[in-house]
């Protein structure tokens, strides 16, 4: 001690540090190894390890194949669409995935590069132009390798050899990520016993309402907060919706009661489902036309326009901004029949802020048509397909690898959060950003009430006939005439339908 005290402070400090280090090493040696099995569940740890190991071996296999092909650079063409701008990660994620893949390839000593090319289409390109472009390109031999579309196209795409079945790939890569896909989504990609695509996202279609208008109508906060629950329990029906919308309109609080989409789409099938209609009979593999439900739906729309005057008679030839987003975000309509992605759109466009949305906008299922029936919503998963031309070019493996990489909890959450779509993977729901998104959390229960549209090649016919009929009813045709038109058009399509009472 005397020795130490006579030395300079620096030497003392070094000596203390050395002793501490030796003591530390001894203690460290004596205590057991890091408790992986206790802090992080061992199974989880092993799972991540196994997944990484699987993926590494897949990339290795891929690398060998790529080198065998002899190309220095392999370009994968990817076509995706919003058409709403916030969904840009449908494409961007591929660029990120290609970057990751290239880093691995470099690390493995390969000099092959994978390049992603393609496009993310937004309005004014609408779905129909996008699909049209795909079919034309495919016929001209210029199809993209990866094609994003709605799941309902699978029947047609598969029947006509535009895309390849992915069962073997999914099997092969199952443990890498696909075990994690929420199982109902697989139903959306199945057709004739095969899986033809990988789910990209899904959504629910809520009925939005303005809380501020309900407040002005004298509703208490408790009553307002209870509305979604009442709808969920079937205590607030489409009839009540008409009454309430009229009340708000008569009180001069709003210009319209309800706005719905202004172009053809699938949203209004929810009203039919709310009246107890069925779309699909899985046992027979046929689409279903429930007569009573369609009659009630058409009558409901007619009354909404001409008796209650809460829907504009020209809503269907209206303008997205002036007749849909605008009236609702400015509080000029009480209800909006929309989709979960609209929340993302309103905020990204600056039509609402997160706070004003929380303060003034509520959301619920689409109500049951009448007492005793169930509330509904509709989901329309988008999917990634691999085209026949990719397979012919010998790049289906690379394309599938890229799809596997974008089907990643983190990357997919980029998309889900930016565009208010729902998770497709269980582990994505646990993504810290996803758990913090209160809206996505709050609409998740709606998936229990959801329906997919049928993957039938004639689905487009059903959609057209329904669109024409509802548009006609809103434009003043009688519900009876519209119903007769609908039925006769459906009958013309023959055996693909089950027509039930």
């Amino acid at each position: 001690m005397i020795v130490l005290s006579t030395k300079s402070p620096t030497v003392t400090l070094i000596a203390v540090a050395l002793i501490a280090l030796i003591v530390g090493v001894v203690i460290g040696y004596m205590i057991p190894k890091a408790p992986t099995g206790e802090v992080v569940p061992k199974s989880e740890y092993d799972k991540v390890l196994a997944e990484n190991e699987q993926l590494r071996s897949k990339v290795e296999e891929l690398q060998k194949k790529l080198e065998a092909l002899g190309a220095k650079e392999i370009t994968i063409v990817v076509w995706t669409i919003g058409p709403d701008p916030p969904s840009e990660y449908r494409y961007k994620n591929f660029e990120i995935a290609a970057e990751v893949l290239n880093k691995w390839l470099t690390l493995m000593g390969s000099n092959v590069k994978v390049k992603v090319e393609g496009e993310f289409f937004v309005r004014p390109v609408e779905w129909k132009e996008y699909k049209n472009k795909f079919y034309m390109a495919a016929k001209a031999g210029k199809a993209p390798d990866i094609y994003l579309t709605g799941h309902e196209d699978i029947g047609f795409l598969a029947d006509n050899n535009y895309i390849i079945p992915l069962d073997d790939y999914i099997q092969e890569y199952w443990d890498v990520v696909y075990y994690d896909v929420i199982p109902t989504l697989w139903k959306a990609v199945e057709y004739k016993g095969h899986k033809w695509a990988i789910p990209q996202d899904t959504e629910v279609r809520p009925l939005y309402f303005r809380k501020d208008i309900l407040r002005q109508l004298g509703w208490s906060e408790e009553e307002i907060e209870a509305l979604p629950k009442k709808i969920q329990n079937g205590e607030f029906t489409l009839e009540d919706l008409l009454e309430l919308a009229k009340q708000a309109k008569d009180a001069g609080l709003v210009e319209r009661g309800l706005v719905h989409r202004v172009k053809e789409g699938y949203d209004y099938f929810q009203f039919y489902l709310g009246f107890g209609g069925r779309l699909w009979d899985p046992a027979q593999g046929k689409m279903v036309f429930t007569k009573s439900a369609w009659k009630k739906t058409l009558e409901w729309f007619y009354r909404a326009v001409y008796e209650y005057e809460v829907i504009s008679p020209t809503q269907f030839s209206g303008d997205w901004d002036k007749d849909f987003h605008g009236p609702f975000t400015q509080g000029k309509t009480l209800f909006l029949s929309g989709g979960s992605w609209h929340k993302g759109e309103w905020i990204s466009k600056g039509l609402l802020t997160e706070e004003s949305f929380k303060e003034n906008v509520g959301f619920a299922l689409h109500p049951a048509g009448e007492a005793g029936l169930k509330p509904v919503t509709l989901s329309h998963p988008l999917i990634y397909t691999i085209t026949k031309q990719a397979a012919d070019r010998g790049v289906a493996d690379v394309a599938f690898m890229l799809i596997t990489l974008v089907t990643d909890p983190h990357l997919n959450a980029n998309h889900a959060i930016a565009s208010s779509h729902l998770a497709i993977l269980y582990s994505e729901i646990l993504d810290s950003r996803y758990t913090q998104d209160w809206f996505l959390k709050d609409v998740a229960y709606m998936l229990d009430y959801t329906t997919f549209i049928p993957n039938h090649p004639n689905w487009g016919d059903y959609s057209r006939v329904v669109y024409e009929s509802i548009k006609a009813v809103e434009g003043g045709e009688s519900p009876e005439d519209a119903y007769n038109y609908m039925l006769s058009e459906i009958q013309k399509l023959g055996d693909v339908f089950i027509i039930e009472d």
Partner: protein, 304 residues
Amino acid sequence: MKMFRFTGKYLWLFLGPTLAIITIFFIIPVFLTLLISFTDMDYAFEWNWIGLENYIRMLEDQWLPKILNNTFFYVFVTLTCFNVGMALVISILTTHINEYVGSAFRAIWLLPRITPSTVYALLWLWASREDAMSLFNWILGFFGMPPINWRLHQPWLLVILVNGFVGVSFGMIIFTAALKSIPNDFLWAAQVDGASTFQVIRHVELPLIKWPILFVLAYQTLSLLTSYEYILLVTDGGPGFFTTEVWALRSYHLAFAQYGGRVYFGYGAALSTILVVIGLIMSILYLKLFRFRELIIEPKIEVQ
């Protein structure tokens, strides 16, 4: 002097390029349309021959008579009121006033034509909105009238105005050019003979621009028969069932505009084929009516 005539290889040299263009861009498409109309082609682009099935389906379609009626109504009214009628009126009026003022007026009438069609249609949609503050309803309000939903209550008026304002410019340019090329001697001679302005127009100008009128009439009939884009943008064939749906729009709706991705190229082509036939008949009628043959024969006198 006898007119020089091309024969032999020169004939083909001079006619060749035009013939090639006509064949590739006009005759082959018509032929293809005809062929496709005998198939059930969709996005699979398969040539499945189904004979006359599409034409039988057409006969069974209870809405087609209404759509055909709409088409004739639309073409006739737009043509007489605007594409030929208004074009003629504007050309005559603007060539009879101060040249600068006349040109300015004509330039204004070109504006709808040079506006991109979707923007132009959108302007009309906004002007005709149902709310009280839209342009049309604001004007109605001036006269103490309540606002109306134009697209619902006056769809045809809207469709014809939207198309008409665009359609005037073509005829206007042709007629103006024709009127300006009438030698002044004719007009002066008529005036010396004591003809009033109206008589000059009626007996000198109009007969002299008969050929351009035929051309505009025939051309615009065909162009209106096949036009649908403004109707698509403004009413989309509504309100109600096929209220403003015209033949070409029906063809478009079935062949291309399916949200659900289901298309009927075959049936659409059959509808188009009928349109081609109607167009051909109309053209022949016009040529007969205006005695086209007489217009193109060699002059009986020669001016050296």
